[in-house]
């Protein structure tokens, strides 16, 4: 049995971190944003050079100059979070291209390409349409394409950077089956994830990084949720349940909302101070429903009542006037103007309120409210003028929140509020959400992370194929019961 081991000492973002992967092992790398995970991956894959004094060893052989091409030759492949595929090329070409390049071919043999692609797919038992364009296949399949591409080389270590962020539960299971399968072929997997339950499910060993330092490597049996969180963040984070006393004040009521191809016969009530969770698989219609309540995807039939009054929500302007705020699932695409400053992003929703007598924006008022929201949501930012794109994921999400909370909505819809951010930032955002509900706001949280809705909502509705199929009171149920319900439906 060969050991693949690598050692680094004194990299800027990493301080004397030792790290090793054994043949055929499944090794998870966890840590908060900015803890040095990406740097470590980049060094292993040869994209970034470590500082002098660092040691990289493969099979006991020491490498002084470690470049991307060496990593490829030694069988190390990285599957980036963005997958790095070519949307405009076919599946076959995406899989086979890098091997064809590596072999130094000048001309293309299409038959050979398909053969390479088939062989790689065969190794994980995948069956993908070779001639479809990658942009036309589902995201989970795209991920398989990326894995197949890695397998075309004589791969021994696959590094997956947060591969499950955009996948549904079922697809994650399928991915794990693939990883296990690779393991049985002696291929090691290094798995980076924010989702702790997945870490426990798949990992044999877990290495934890914090602030560029290694906290330790543990066998996954030695760890549990609480211990892992503590080691990652350095503080103890306790999950508590959110409950509310029975409220009489109905903020929003939906009656029989339907839209063909989106959702059907949706009825529910949201009380002031409530955090209502809506969960279900990707494609269950949950996001479509949220968009409809915010006027972006108006329902075809049914009624919405706000504080008992029937209202029409035909556009975002209607929704905003009615006191509804919406924080989208994909904060990067839908929520923020990336090049603009934090301050400008926060006040964009409340410009009307900042006008002075002449109809111009009052700079003082603007600064005041920006400062207030940065403070209130503890957004970590060097100055209100820094562009949003320079912030970490968790802080970007806070800016989106700030932007909508600034409008002082009565009802706030949060779609996947903590997708892709780490545990500590997550719990900070959860605290903010609870605080808002405590002030009497009605909040709808849409998420496919069961623990997230379970711990933060007082009520959970499960959606499947556009319909509500079950409702849970979190005080009287368990996580497993909810998970079961979703699995049964799927």
């Amino acid at each position: 049995m060969k050991n693949i081991s690598k050692r680094y000492v004194g990299v800027q973002a990493l301080d004397a971190v030792d790290f090793e992967v054994h043949k055929g092992e499944i090794h998870c790398l966890v840590g908060e944003n900015g803890s040095g995970k990406s740097t470590l991956i980049k060094i292993i894959s040869g994209v970034v050079r470590p500082d002098d004094g660092s040691r990289i060893e493969i099979d006991g052989e020491r490498f002084h100059d470690w470049h991307a091409i060496d990593a490829i030759h030694k069988g190390i492949e990285v599957i980036y979070q963005d997958l790095s595929l070519f949307p405009n090329l076919t599946v076959a070409e995406n899989i086979a291209l890098s091997q064809t390049i590596a072999q130094g071919h000048k001309f293309i043999n299409w038959g050979e390409m398909r053969r390479i692609a088939r062989k790689a797919m065969g190794r994980i038992g995948a069956d993908l349409p070779l001639d479809e364009l990658v942009e036309d296949i589902p995201l989970a399949d795209q991920q398989l394409v990326a894995i197949c591409r890695a397998l075309t080389h004589n791969v021994r270590l696959v590094i997956m950077d947060e591969p499950t962020t955009a996948l549904t539960r079922k697809e994650v299971e399928a991915l794990f089956a693939v990883v296990k399968d690779l393991q049985s072929k002696g291929i090691a997997t290094m798995f980076v994830s924010h989702k702790l339950d997945e870490v426990f499910q798949i990992a044999e060993r877990v290495t934890i990084l914090r602030d560029g330092e290694k906290v330790g490597t543990f066998a996954s049996q030695e760890l549990d949720d609480e211990k892992l969180t503590m080691l990652m963040t350095g503080k103890k984070l306790a999950y508590t349940r959110y409950t509310v006393e029975e409220q009489e004040n109905i903020l929003l009521e939906a009656r029989d909302l339907s839209k063909s191809g989106n959702f059907k016969e949706i009825s529910f009530r949201l009380h002031a101070g409530e955090i209502l969770g809506i969960t279900g698989l990707l494609g269950s219609g949950r996001t479509e429903l949220a968009l409809s309540l915010f006027g972006l995807n108006p329902a075809e039939s049914g009624e919405v009542l706000i504080q008992g009054q029937p209202v029409k929500i035909g556009s975002v302007q209607d929704a905003v006037k009615l006191g509804i705020g919406y924080v989208p699932e994909n904060r990067l695409v839908q929520g923020l103007i990336m090049q603009q400053s934090v301050g400008k992003n926060i006040v964009v929703t409340i410009l009307q309120k900042l006008l002075n007598g002449l109809g111009m924006i009052d700079a003082d008022k603007m600064e005041d409210s920006v400062a207030r929201w940065i403070e209130e949501l503890s957004i970590k930012v060097p100055s209100a003028d820094s562009p949003v794109q320079t912030l970490s994921g968790g802080n970007q999400q806070r800016v989106v929140l700030a932007k909508w909370i600034a409008t002082e909505p009565k009802i706030l819809i949060l779609d996947g509020p903590t997708v892709g951010i780490d545990v500590a930032a997550k719990s900070a955002i959860h605290d903010i959400i609870r605080g808002l509900a405590g002030q009497g706001m009605g909040i709808i949280v849409i998420s496919d992370e069961i623990p997230e809705v379970f711990h933060n909502c007082n009520r959970i509705i499960v959606m499947h194929k556009g319909k509500f199929i079950a409702e849970f009171d979190t005080a009287q149920t368990t996580e497993d019961a909810i998970q079961d319900c979703i699995n049964r439906a799927g």
């Binding site: 980036y80 090329l89 293309i108």
Partner: protein, 331 residues
């Protein structure tokens, strides 16, 4: 088959068929071999430029300067062959070398200074034209060598029409088609060709899988320059005079043809077949309107309308496809 029917190229093809029917209905002279060969000859200039522009668009860039490159190549070539003599081969060689060099200048600026291709090529467009105007003094060249004149008349085969006038497939069209075949081979069967698609689709990934992006850029813009150089000679052959300002403003016509052919300004998408159809559409519209005795001023209006209609049809198709993909399955 289903895919073929759904493709954008098929849509453009149907538009062309429809146009041909309408024009022929008004003027039966339109759908004749004579007119066809004539169009194939006179539009080879646009057609060759379009090949180069297609490469640039697929790679995710854009080139505005190719008309200036073509003019410079044409002018310098003319000056040299008038002064020192030569033959067709040297004429093409001179223009090609100049085109490739000017194209490389574009690539180098875009790559090393990381300036967007549209800005770079607007700048070089002005520099190339400007320098040419300064050094040529705006003088036209009329007295081209006889061999240069005679080359234009070469036909692969010749037919005679009812009035005894000869016509046929011009050597110029053959050059165009040969370049098309070459371009097709490059795009489909070489690593460089696939690299151009890959780079246009996702530049970061192209780098990651091991493409040499600088080499690809150099190739794309030099190829564009080469096409411009050859197109310059073709234009000189067609009009038999060389003017430093004869193709000012033609950039957008060529871009329009390529975009009509389905290439995307965001890169990664486009085919030679589509580009051919785009050129055909422009050609048929120009020629057809004349044959239907529509005043020439209307030409621009129709080109504009066709672009709006076909490009929005394409965008609409994409939107529908996307919508279908996200539809929730309801029981």
């Amino acid at each position: 088959m289903k895919r073929l029917l759904a493709s954008y190229e098929t849509f453009v093809f149907l538009v062309i068929v429809l146009l041909c029917i309408i024009i022929t209905w008004v003027n039966p002279n339109f759908l004749t071999l004579e007119n066809l060969f004539d169009l194939l000859k006179s539009y080879s200039f646009v057609g060759i430029l379009a090949i180069g522009v297609l490469f640039v668009l697929i790679s995710g860039g854009i080139d505005i300067s190719f008309t200036a490159v073509a003019t410079v190549a044409m002018y310098v070539m003319a000056v040299i062959i008038v002064r020192y003599g030569g033959n067709m081969l040297t004429a093409f060689l001179i223009a090609s070398v100049i085109g490739i060099i000017l194209g490389m200048v574009n690539a180098v600026i875009i790559y090393f200074f990381n300036i967007h291709s549209i800005i770079t090529t607007i700048a070089t467009l002005n520099i190339y034209y400007g320098l040419l105007t300064v050094f040529s003094g705006g003088k036209w060249i009329y007295a081209l060598p006889t061999w240069f004149r005679e080359f234009t008349e070469i036909r692969v085969f010749t037919l005679t029409n009812a009035n005894g006038i000869e016509y046929g497939l011009s050597i110029i069209t053959v050059i165009w088609f040969a370049l098309l075949a070459l371009a097709w081979l490059i795009l489909r069967y070489t690593m460089i060709g696939r690299g151009i698609y890959a780079m246009g689709g996702n530049p970061t990934s192209a780098r990651r899988v091991g493409f040499d992006v600088l080499r690809l850029q150099l190739f794309v813009y030099s190829f564009m320059g080469w096409m411009a150089g050859i197109a310059g000679v073709i234009l000189a052959l067609l009009v038999q005079t060389v003017a430093p300002n004869s193709i000012v403003g033609k950039e957008l016509d060529v871009l329009a043809a390529v975009i009509l052919g389905g290439a995307s300004l965001t890169g990664g998408v486009g085919s030679l077949w589509g580009t051919m159809l785009g050129v055909a559409l422009i050609a048929i519209m120009g020629n057809g309107l004349t044959m239907m005795r529509v005043p020439a001023f209307w030409y621009n209006v129709f080109i504009g309308l066709t672009i709006v209609i076909s490009v929005s049809a394409n965008a609409y198709r994409h939107k529908r496809k996307k919508k279908r993909a996200i539809a929730v399955e309801i029981e």
